[in-house]
Subunit: 335 residues, 2 copies
Amino acid sequence: MSKQIRVALDAMGGDHAPEETVKGAVLAVAENQNVIVYLFGKEDALQAELDKYKDADRSRLIVKACSEVVAMAEKPIVAIRAKKDSSLVKALEFVRDGEADAFVSAGSTGAVLVGGQTIIGKIPGIKRAPLAPLIPTKRGVSLLIDCGANVDPKPEYLLSFAQMGTVYMERVLGKKHPKVAIVNIGAEEEKGNALVKETMPLLKAEKGLNFVGSIEARDIPEGKVDVILTDAFTGNVILKLYEGLATSLIGIVKKGLLSTIRSKIGAALALPALKKSLSDFDAAKYGGAPLLGLKGLVVKTHGSSKSVEVKNSILQCETFGREDVNGAIREKLGK
Amino acid sequence: MSKQIRVALDAMGGDHAPEETVKGAVLAVAENQNVIVYLFGKEDALQAELDKYKDADRSRLIVKACSEVVAMAEKPIVAIRAKKDSSLVKALEFVRDGEADAFVSAGSTGAVLVGGQTIIGKIPGIKRAPLAPLIPTKRGVSLLIDCGANVDPKPEYLLSFAQMGTVYMERVLGKKHPKVAIVNIGAEEEKGNALVKETMPLLKAEKGLNFVGSIEARDIPEGKVDVILTDAFTGNVILKLYEGLATSLIGIVKKGLLSTIRSKIGAALALPALKKSLSDFDAAKYGGAPLLGLKGLVVKTHGSSKSVEVKNSILQCETFGREDVNGAIREKLGK
């Protein structure tokens, strides 16, 4: 592929900005010749960071100066209205105006969600835009949808998320007839909260879906389904617990390996192979989560993202762009 | 303690009944001289299982014959009304009538919840009875409340669960001023779904609680709070994902350890120490979950429980009984 992909990076967003965002951009540009990154943020700070990388191809790392930053704790709607010259708002406008193909941010999830929907806008006919990260499983990855946008969704929203998730898995991961399941607390028909019970008949009735019924949280890491459907509250709990438990268990494994002299010797021999296995279960390598159903490509990466996650999120935009996920969603669900 | 504890065991409940339930009862009786187990179920089957254990003290393993079994997939209310001679109904009635101190089952969660509330009954003044398991954390255990009883609770129910959970952690685990947090998708004030937003002011206003605010799912395994408050849908997702991820990650660790010759040698040296560390994170050793706020003690253990979990659930009844959790709840919250 020789088509260039232009990414507008909110270089001030995230816990480790601008050091790690700039480094991520430098790494992405070095890894893929087709990538151009526009870095939005405070000019002095960004230039100083860029100057650390003598070999970087500065022709594809373009600083776009803006004076404000949306902080993590700010109310999203208020911040977006008030901070017209923030890196987040300016970068989103750049995509809206067709000057970049994709937006990437490690900043406030709320601000990205609100900004994406109000500045770039939803595809006509799409009522809500879900945030849909890939999560690692024993068999590869599954799409967890929704993880951020709709904490108290209507059943019809979940139906459209199932459809968007299906398009995503077909296009981006090349899955044929991706299996869709809804997160539930048991496999029996009568189980579930009100939302699940109301959504179930809609999913069953929709012919275009390969809907396989309920999935219990216990079975999510098994990777038996491709699209895991849920409200954003539960989705966020699943995503965060995935991270927290993986970190804790890896810590416990390390502690166990270093607890006796005998096991320390064992650890020295076993650790390289073990690290390789565990890295397959590291959510960071899958980059950011797209906000689906928008007129442009918006990718949110974790607030605590380091350069590797930022780089992966930028590189991911090429796949998203090439496969034109939002175009396919517009074709299938737009009006 | 020389006081006897009489446990009515639904010996037909669970995926591995009656083999593992009977074995669990035999192990419990052998481990603690104060425990008497009444095994409810099909007489022939139970006697045949008991006959496998020649050394068992049969004077404290008493079979109570009944002809029916409540299956996992049955509708709870229907099954409890129809199957008057089931092991589940008969064992609950035994507790209601004061002939046993506690009820233990690995059977259908729904049937235990409905049966516990309708046959044994709630303490007057308690509107809903939550299911509250202990979950392992880096620092010990936390109480996850609610995990089964109320998938769409009212804010006032969650407030009373926070109070019951506080009593539990004070009495059973000896924690002073246990910290209570509500599961949420961010620490900021405006985050959360409708339920969390409505419950938050009630929790803040309640003087008797050591309420510390929101907890993100990522931080649950850290063990920074004692009582983790949530609706039963989210609670069930957390509990099941805990199990599923722990199992998957341990599998990945094993695979990693056995993937090269070098790491195999390392594994042989490291495995004993590693197993010891990982066993601390094994939910099974914490036994079953009590259904709080009832007139009697009802403990639900996992449907897939083996003899160890059944044994631990039976032994746990002694602590619950000794500390009189439900008595303390009645005193604090009953009318």
